[in-house]
């Protein structure tokens, strides 16, 4: 048997949470897709950056707060979450407004490292250009 093909997958998230179902469905697809052991990363652009905002509390809305589920991504080897800097800035947000998401690096004695990386537009464009598969939510 030949080695399984590993492709570079990027999930691009451009919608705010709760107002539409895109964000929660997209996250679900990423978590399911993680089982296929591909090279997976996520990008958060436009209103998608709101998905990572900290202190989400849906108790009065009586719907599920799915933001803690982003913490599970690290356990599924989804540990590169790229956030476009320009999208954050347009929304008055910075790194300190985002949830602290981490993963344990198996190549570095399981050291805990941040998963969220803020990148500028050009860096993100380069990352998009190098993907084999891009899925949009």
């Amino acid at each position: 048997m030949s080695d399984p093909v590993v492709k570079k997958f990027m999930y691009i998230n451009r919608r705010a949470p709760y107002g539409t179902i895109y964000a929660v469905e997209g996250l679900e697809v990423v978590l399911i897709g993680a089982a296929f052991e591909q090279d997976v990363c996520m990008a958060f652009v436009d209103d998608g950056v709101y998905q990572l905002k900290k202190n989400q509390d849906t108790s009065e809305l009586e719907i599920k707060n799915f933001s803690p589920a982003y913490r599970a991504l690290g356990d599924y080897d989804v540990n590169r979450l790229y956030v476009e800097r320009e999208s954050l800035e347009a929304r008055g947000l910075g790194a300190e407004d985002l949830m602290e998401l981490t993963y344990e690096d198996e190549d570095d004695d399981w050291a805990e490292k941040p998963s969220v990386k803020i990148v500028d537009r050009e860096e993100l464009a380069n990352l998009i250009a190098e993907q084999d598969v891009i899925l949009n939510f």
Binding site: R15, D47, N55
Partner: protein, 100 residues
Amino acid sequence: MLHTVNKSPFEKNSLETCLRLAKPGNDILLIEDAVYAAMDGTSVADTVSTAVENFKIYVLGPDLASRGIGQNELIKGIEVVDYDGFVRLAAENNTVQSWL
């Protein structure tokens, strides 16, 4: 008249159109993804700050909380209401116009 807006100002022009066509003194309530327009420091904050002078602008508290937006992060002059406040605004105004 009460105007409600439920779309993000960064994704749709619903708020922009509402502000263009509402009459001075009208009530405007930001709900769902439109609550992002109530945050200070954004690229639309200047537009919304100006609108606060012409309209009474409200924002729905539970929709702010679910999106992780604190009341200290809002543009000055915007009033936070709960679901009872939403009902009161709808009852007090003869007409409710929803900008979708």
